[in-house]
Symmetry: C2
Subunit: 326 residues, 2 copies
């Protein structure tokens, strides 16, 4: 984060002057990794999404109000949105703070970027109240403090699509280099089986070394996937949705995964895989009919396994966090 | 290779009927890997190139005439172009064969796809004489027999750009899946130091396992490079030309490499690295003035090291093997 003194000083009091500006925003769910793009690719979904309301207050503190039943912490230092807003207050050396109301609709632990939605929403919402003083890259940097709290690591693969929308690439995390890719108009079917897969567990079961020949296969697929997105070549996207490194290990933690993947592709889906570190599974389709057929496959599979679940038939969201009212 | 009996039978005698058709072609040098895209990316150069002349003859055999001083084998089974033409004769179960004259200008062992130029030229040239019965993908398959003879492995990362031109991606080798990427109008400076680096040695010094964290960095750069090509974003191309896996090991075999790379980037080059498995080094630049400055840096470095060398200031070739006369 660049430390621009002039910028910081100019914002020591609320820019609106009345302390009463309120912004209502929508923060989309996101799918990280996109099968072969572990830690580098992600995309935003039209559904589900969180709703957040942010307001400037006259004290340099963060007040959190949860409008849902998830019992998330309301102490700013323990709340994903809270730590992001505290960082912004610190960076501005400000005399003002934020009140934030969160209606979480993306279930925590779903693998659909629930914590990122809060972190990204906090950063974008605060920035709106501060007259857009920060760049998207700076907002990603702020939001990563929320990811650090949630998972122990400053990841950006959910945050970036949540802020920028569409499909995004983290070319490098140090230094941060984010690239917005072309997002094709595809349908996304998502199932969230109500089982717990902790991000930290999902990370620990990965081997620290991979075979060079597998790495070569993986980067062939990543290159194919990026080319497919940029060229709007859905067949190439489909052929490239293959992961020889992470999925074979992580999918063991998700019952029904192989059945859903193979049946969905038989039904005409382009492909798909684990959303983030799971347990949600996503599948991409070219049309709504196929996306709904995939949903039926997901419903049937988890019903047979006796596991509760929730499904979504949605699309890639071209926009990230967006304003409902300001 | 699909075994289409009808196609094969229809070509058991020369299509032209007169046995005298002759084609004169130009077969470009190629740069494989493109820094981070080990085994998957490649590009064609405007210079140097080989010249090949192919003629149909009335016997199912291959006659090779070398018009250069490299003393390459003239027995078809031991010659890169020869084995490709033998495969084509076999696939056609034909009564005719080929006479091929080769003027090699791409020095063998340079790391600039010298053997691929012969293999690709043989496949494309024969296909022209056979009224373009084969697809580009089939031509790549045939040409890989030449690479197998040259290096022991059926690689396609030089052959593909040599046939298709521009910048190409091998998403997968089994099954073969080739993708032509957008090729930006960039200048390429190449230096071929007259030292020997055998492809087999350059392959053996690589570790069979890589750290997952390095693989992630690598696929971030590959994704960035592909996005950069497709978007014509030269700054992104420059930032993505980084190899944390292969180059640190292989560059040890090439004296002067680090000096040339750092000085070229200081001079304004976008970046570059080892061409294929070396010893040639290539650098990409946005304009000719920078490309020539890079050439001077290369000349100076190898002169000081007392190593003979040859340089080229050229461009990415949009076309692959092309017809000079038919």
């Amino acid at each position: 984060m660049s430390d621009d003194k002039n910028k910081s000083l100019s914002a020591t009091s609320p820019p609106s002057g009345d302390g009463g500006a309120v912004v209502l925003i929508k923060c989309p769910a996101t799918v990280a990794n996109l099968v072969c793009g572990f830690d580098i690719l992600g995309m935003a979904l039209q559904e589900p999404y969180d709703i957040m309301k942010l307001k400037l207050i006259d004290e340099p503190k963060v007040v959190i109000i949860n409008n849902d039943n998830y019992n998330l912490p309301t102490e700013a230092e323990k709340n994903v949105a809270g730590v992001v807003l505290l960082e912004i207050i610190k960076h501005n050396n400000s005399s003002f703070g934020f009140e934030v109301e969160i209606e979480k609709r993306i279930k925590p632990g779903s693998g659909l970027g629930s914590s990122s939605a809060s972190a990204a929403g906090a950063a974008v919402g605060a920035n709106l109240l501060l007259n857009n003083k920060y760049s998207n890259e700076e907002l990603v940097q702020f939001a990563m403090f929320g990811e650090k709290l949630a998972s122990g690591v400053k990841h950006a693969d959910n945050i970036t699509p949540c802020i920028l929308g569409g499909v995004t690439l983290i070319r490098s995390i140090h230094p941060l280099d984010i690239v917005k890719l072309n997002a094709p108009s595809l349908f996304v079917t998502v199932v969230h089986p109500q089982i717990e897969v902790k991000t930290s567990d999902a990370r620990q079961i990965l081997r620290k070394e991979v075979l060079l020949k597998d790495a070569i296969k993986q980067w062939g697929n990543i290159a194919g996937l990026v080319a497919g997105f940029e060229k709007n070549d859905t067949a190439l996207i489909g052929r490239s949705l293959e992961d020889v490194i992470i999925e074979p290990v992580r999918s063991i933690l998700i019952p029904g995964f192989d059945t859903i993947k193979s049946k969905s592709k038989e039904a005409g889906a382009l492909g798909g895989g684990i959303s983030g570190s799971g347990p949600s599974i996503f599948m991409l389709s070219e049309n709504e009919a196929t996306a709904k057929e995939v949903e039926a496959i997901m419903q049937q599979t988890f019903t047979q396994l006796g596991i509760e679940f929730k499904t979504y038939v949605t699309r890639i969201a071209k926009e990230g966090v967006s304003v409902l009212k300001y």
